[in-house]
Point group: C2
Chain length 334, copies 2
């Protein structure tokens, strides 16, 4: 392999093979049957390409084709299983579909989301998937102005199709199950985590309320605590609740593993003191939490299915706006 100091181009290859750039291009792109290029020439070109470590310049290709072959995704964070499996699955699907995936995390920051969307537009993405975006409609407008379609995942938007979990039903089932585990007649039930402003949190609260209603349990407003997703926020909201109630709730619905991380130290403190510990539910899943926290019930979102549907929408390219809800799975150790 002659270490060419500078990058090899199709012109170099053409010269080496005694042919033209057009022909090399056709060979590289596998169009040589169509162009009826002799097999011998094609083989020769491919050999030379291999030998010189030739890599097609994708920017040049994108420029001339006027399409990049890139699809983008923005994600709030990588540091939990839900979003990281979304990122990983998105990559795999994109590659299988012949696209190059670009994913970027925007820390639930609206400004960063917009900046990331602009950057992706600069790279001429052919699709932008907004995962858990705080303002997907704004991103949609940005992309629409550039003629780029968007799709929403996890959190819905109103201007493009969305694939989300069955938040209401998932929360309903989870709460029902927790009530059974709890056993008490009039348990003190608390919901914690998430944002009142986001659709998923609202739907989950609705499911939570409904399950309690079915059991004729009245729920005080002070027991619904959409304090944000961050671990610290959930931790301190929980601590505050405990202080003002002089004790822990009987049943605790936690709205994400991130929030669960913040609450766990408090739960452990209770356990260490030999005090009663609330029955725990979490609308989210983590393998260690599921395995090691006593009596926790977790809701696993069906990432595989969500991505299949998402890519189905992408290839369909319909401009009808749909909102598709995907069933969740309840996981507990018993």
């Amino acid at each position: 392999m002659p270490d060419s100091p500078k990058k090899t181009t199709i012109y170099d290859l053409a010269q080496l093979a005694g042919t033209s750039a057009s022909t090399v291009s056709a060979v590289i792109n596998g169009n040589w049957k169509k162009r009826r290029i002799s097999e011998a020439l094609a083989t020769r070109v491919l050999e030379l390409a291999e030998e010189h470590g030739f890599a097609l310049n994708m920017q040049a290709r994108a420029l001339s084709r006027e399409k990049s072959g890139i699809i983008g995704m923005i994600v709030p964070m990588y540091d939990n299983r839900y979003f990281s499996s979304i990122a990983q699955g998105f990559e795999a699907h994109a590659r299988d579909a012949g696209y190059f995936p670009i994913v970027t995390c925007t820390r639930r920051d609206p400004e960063l989301e917009v900046a990331a969307a602009r950057a992706m537009l600069g790279y001429q993405v052919e699709l932008l998937v907004c995962t858990g975006a705080t303002d997907p409609d704004r991103i949609h407008d940005l992309c629409a102005a550039a003629g780029v379609p968007t799709l929403n995942l996890d959190l819905p938007g109103s201007k493009a199709s969305s694939v989300i979990s069955e938040n209401f039903h998932g929360a309903l089932d989870l709460t029902r199950k927790l009530l059974i585990q709890c056993g008490k007649d009039m348990p003190e039930a608390v919901f914690i985590g998430g944002r009142q402003s986001d659709h998923n949190t609202r739907e989950r609260i609705r499911g939570f309320r409904q399950a309690l209603g079915e059991a004729d349990i009245t729920i005080r407003d002070g027991n619904i605590l959409p304090c944000g997703y961050a671990a610290e926020k959930a931790g301190s909201a929980y601590r505050l609740w405990q202080q003002s109630h002089h004790g822990s709730p009987d049943l605790l619905f936690v709205n994400s593993t991130i929030s669960l991380e913040g609450i766990l130290p408090e739960i452990e403190k209770l356990r260490a003191e030999g005090a009663g510990v609330p029955i725990l539910g979490c609308f989210d899943w983590d393998p260690f939490a599921a395995r090691t926290i006593d009596n926790i019930v977790m809701v696993k979102q069906d990432v595989k299915r969500m991505l299949e549907i998402l890519f189905g929408l992408f290839v369909k390219q319909s401009d009808e706006i749909e909102q598709i809800e995907v069933a969740t799975i309840l996981e507990s150790r018993d």
Copy 2:
């Protein structure tokens, strides 16, 4: 915002502003003081750009500048805290340094690694960081032929600088701590997970052996089980060990959180049966595992520091090959 059906170019902007593409280019790139363009014109151009949702075509820029502004990273997986925080931190650093980050996961598959490296080369990355790569030297050669520098992270290579954890010392400290916790005179100690072929695993085994040696504990070869990283592999290797020894070890050194996931069910089974449970150590960190598994000691790798050093090497661009080891942190609940 007039929804232009087609993308706006600098020529469109030039026409609109009654000036030339060169001038627009200078304004967009913030070089207009240098070009002494009138502030009025500059402002006007920027307004128009905003109004039309203009986004510089980065492929065109890359092509003409002959540099892409992209840096790439390959990572084995996203689905654990170590690698996902590496990916997240890489993104942040890249952006701060004015680069566009591309990260791709290659599932510890040598062929995928090479394919991903080729794809990145096609996108003209200016640096490729190989994280936990099975054959970083092969990727280095590929990149070197295209004049692209590489850097290794987590697992070292011999042809480019590497930033890795202090595997030997980390394992030594961890094992010492486990021995203290264990308390027994002649504990049965087992090492599980990882690959004999990788540097980190070998170094950790060395640290493990050394700590045992210091305590005059002889260690049988059958107790060193580098069975791979996958959870299932670790699970079955552990089960096998237990079967042939009619019991569990006293001390178990697990080489990653992934392997820990595979072993946990067995540990729980023991606990449920009221049988003795080994003292657990893990060369890796996960917040839930750290919090919820009784008496586990975890080694946290210093991702923040590793990335700082990595980017330091990148900006330095020295062609001296260094291998830098970063201290790890021991975490336990007491």
